[in-house]
Assembly symmetry: D2
Homo-oligomer: 337 residues x 4
Amino acid sequence: MIIVMKPNVSKEKIQDLKTKLNGRGIVVNLWEGEKYSVLGLLGDTSSINPSQIQADECVDKVLHVQEPYKKANRLFHPEDTIIKVGNEEIGSSKIAVMAGPCSVESEEQLIGIAERIKKSGAGFLRGGAFKPRTSPYSFQGMKEEGLNILKKAREITGLPIVTEIMSTKLVEKFVEDVDIIQVGARNMQNFDLLKELGRTKKTILLKRGLSATIEEFLMSAEYIMAGGNDNVILCERGIRTFETYTRNTLDLSAVPVIKKLSHLPIIIDPSHAGGMWWLVEPLAKAAVAVGADGLMIEVHNDPVNAKSDGAQSLKPEKFDSLMKSLRQVAKAVDKEI
Amino acid sequence: MIIVMKPNVSKEKIQDLKTKLNGRGIVVNLWEGEKYSVLGLLGDTSSINPSQIQADECVDKVLHVQEPYKKANRLFHPEDTIIKVGNEEIGSSKIAVMAGPCSVESEEQLIGIAERIKKSGAGFLRGGAFKPRTSPYSFQGMKEEGLNILKKAREITGLPIVTEIMSTKLVEKFVEDVDIIQVGARNMQNFDLLKELGRTKKTILLKRGLSATIEEFLMSAEYIMAGGNDNVILCERGIRTFETYTRNTLDLSAVPVIKKLSHLPIIIDPSHAGGMWWLVEPLAKAAVAVGADGLMIEVHNDPVNAKSDGAQSLKPEKFDSLMKSLRQVAKAVDKEI
Amino acid sequence: MIIVMKPNVSKEKIQDLKTKLNGRGIVVNLWEGEKYSVLGLLGDTSSINPSQIQADECVDKVLHVQEPYKKANRLFHPEDTIIKVGNEEIGSSKIAVMAGPCSVESEEQLIGIAERIKKSGAGFLRGGAFKPRTSPYSFQGMKEEGLNILKKAREITGLPIVTEIMSTKLVEKFVEDVDIIQVGARNMQNFDLLKELGRTKKTILLKRGLSATIEEFLMSAEYIMAGGNDNVILCERGIRTFETYTRNTLDLSAVPVIKKLSHLPIIIDPSHAGGMWWLVEPLAKAAVAVGADGLMIEVHNDPVNAKSDGAQSLKPEKFDSLMKSLRQVAKAVDKEI
Amino acid sequence: MIIVMKPNVSKEKIQDLKTKLNGRGIVVNLWEGEKYSVLGLLGDTSSINPSQIQADECVDKVLHVQEPYKKANRLFHPEDTIIKVGNEEIGSSKIAVMAGPCSVESEEQLIGIAERIKKSGAGFLRGGAFKPRTSPYSFQGMKEEGLNILKKAREITGLPIVTEIMSTKLVEKFVEDVDIIQVGARNMQNFDLLKELGRTKKTILLKRGLSATIEEFLMSAEYIMAGGNDNVILCERGIRTFETYTRNTLDLSAVPVIKKLSHLPIIIDPSHAGGMWWLVEPLAKAAVAVGADGLMIEVHNDPVNAKSDGAQSLKPEKFDSLMKSLRQVAKAVDKEI
């Protein structure tokens, strides 16, 4: 941590702060420039609250040298994390494809889609049973019944199931029923939920919040890991910017950046990012090319009658042809699908 | 709802969509332009899912005429809502001032601060018992013990207490213990929590999410109101933009905009918005001048030792002089503090 | 400047960089932490190009201690700059009010408005002769003819005139004709234009770019000042964010922040910020309360027939009543209008 | 254009507006809903100024049906535009690669780099002679001398040259000297410059502004085209968002969106987008996969001594290996490099 003092602060005041920090066992180096004096704090500064330092009227600013996340930090864990779910892996050279409808709507619908995507090569079935909707008057999901239908689809197809949790009250049920528990973008900083999921061993798919920085995203993963659960998959799904033509702005740079900062796998959701079905194919190809470990894609047999997100869902035949073209791109970057 | 068809779509396709919509009891007006055809849907379109319409390959775009919120909409409730909490009101010509430390840290600290802010004219005591922190390694609040200290401070000073809830599991306890339940910015779209709070009659202080549009903000209020709880106070606390000098960018335009769109009271939190104590006074004055119904201000007796948000906390003597200058501004806009 | 080396970089590499920097006359302090080594560069680092340092593969990041602007920096010029234009001042305790139509449309229109705003107490007449319009098919201004009308209005009313320049080719003409030359938001980083204006002594009103940070804004002022022209007035007019209800998001925090960082006067344009006439009054009041040195307000005698920006223009009678209420707010913060 | 009237506006007022619009030769359809009345304007509405409509106190909002750009609009020009420069094409199935240093620094440097990139397969040489820099104290480019060096490099290698213009005063010289004139992001809405370039027939490379929407970006292209110059190449180079880890956020969705809305070629600049050399390779691959028509990449023989943008420049050997891997990705999406 680097503390920049305000210009012209007296030597006594600087010494006071230095002494106070020394008293907490911190080694402090002092540099005195012409206008500014700077304190350099080396070693473990986790006992210090930066906001307290910033509250000192003699302090101009506090700069951070070290990243605040530890368990998610590649520095302390140089190898890529590969997460195993059933017979599938996420984080290896095989790109994980999670596909399915936005919402579970009926047994017939879900099983039909599950069989189609499996045939096309998807490794996981996604489908929402509990739906976070902007409007209280929109369809809120089939809830427990949806979970049962997901389980049936898994039984029939063998595909592991991914579905979103919205309530801490259902953590136990989700742990029992599903293979990957998704935390939605709007709950990325629902710390209460993250803590409860940290106490399980279940694989968590953590979506980036609409306005979360990469650092905050990794800090939310750290919440889960700090509780003892290392099975975290990150998912970039578009951030909110001034551009409104697309539903969100897909931040593909986040993939190489997160690969550099962290050892956790990162996948891309091109469906939510663009918000329109015809954007899914180009964005999915770009995601594979940029180095993502997986994709989450909305597929619906009948988009114009989908209960949610119809506009961004692919029909099964389009998904099938997408998988074919993704195989070419994957090969070009030494991966497979 | 206005549906713009893609250029050169056949008359049959347009007729098909019109028939389908008519089948749901919707009156559809058709305009045929040279390049574009447009369908105008009048009356109640709540039975239609815009995403399904958008999913139709013949549709270019869907434009909305009506606001999606009803109970929060001034159109259906033209008078200002005034919320009564104890002997205080929020939404009237008297500006509601909620002050206190970011976190409850001890009985002595909280009661000391409570007495000081009361003397300066604050009407409510704020203080966090459960703290949402970006890092799992930061102080997470005194929890239940913090609630007990808040209650003691209320007993001694008579000030109603405002504190943040993070877990649906504690709704019942909060309803019993506190006067105003705060929903933090990060939980603005924790719909599960909003629904549970909608089932109570307790006053809810809903903070705007870091990247929530005003429409989404009002939709979150609608979630609470849809459950039967009309006691919602809105709070603008800064949004996330590209500017990083300030912690967030305080969107003061939101006050007159929300006053136009909704009948709910709206207050401003200048402490979180700016993130630095010296910004609190100018921003608080501006908030009063722009027409806010109240202010939420962090006050701490010893900011350099505060467990959280020290940098943005005012000392009690500064808060006292702030209140004096706010009285002048309030008078200038025909209000009082 | 603080240089954070990558973890586990060899001592030799660190020494190499230190030696290289020493060779340029820079005193370098080295701190060696457990994981990270840090170089602290004191004194004048203006001979160093941070991008070159960042390009070194051993360097993790470069942090800045000092602000990059000098002439605009309050550190080196502690007193407020007060700019005199005719008999008026900008930056003193009297709030400067610049009012008038978006575009000059005719002699009759402009002189009519000028007389009205003068009577209401405005100190300056604004009006666009050359108009930057998003569309090439929109009205582009009356150009030279518009300048002549502005001069006639000045002759009649005595009000100094403010108008926007778009071309370096017209700098000489503007210097001769107008009192304050406005640089629009879209040209804030038109460095060629800034340099030419820096060579004059004319007062420049520099508007903040739609996505300019406060630091970049001050760097653009620095461009003008570096050329020898210290007469710069800054103008915040709303920044671009994800919120689309308002045309832009007015960043009122920028006023106290700029007052802290710089000695230059800063005014607010509430008309462009909100984009709607009914937002002008609350935002103008907030601007005065937050400490702005002036206001720029669009006034039009016939908004529904205005050639540009009708939706955000006040009618003269509304402007008159606005001025009356602003006087109250100004008084409350020890200023006058 | 769709005009939504305020709720409860009288029939007379609505009739007045309808009559006024009819008077301008516009066919107006009126729909009367329960709460809202809506006017639908069909046919050519270019004689109407939306801001005037919005200024009417009876009007709630104005919605747009048609895109405001014409010459850049794919609707009126369904085939892809392919631009020929020398023996190279931009917009065809061969991906155009423009490479070279950020700034021209010396003859030796530029010619050395030009020969290396040519050997690796680049089709164009980029290099800045006039440099837009945030600070007036940074290196501003070699100016005219830089242009001469660029011409020499073209003579030797045969590569067409691309360089940025900053001043309208130099349009004639640039037209004579260079092959593609670049308009930088900060000048995207320097309308004066766009108009002058519209009067030439030279190919223009127009970079997207840091906070320009896709619609505004196309409107700036329209400015050039409206003047009679159809040779416009668009370039996405990252937009400004809240994320600060990367210099900008590369908006790759803009590629398929612009392909849908316009017939103009669009290329990607991964160097400026990411701001760090190690991001160039993954982002360039993603750009090819998403369907971009070309790439603009910074290459420098000695990044740690580059006068600008060293941190984001590739060394020639890295550029060479990048070209090899891009060939694989191009092949996977049926293109070539």
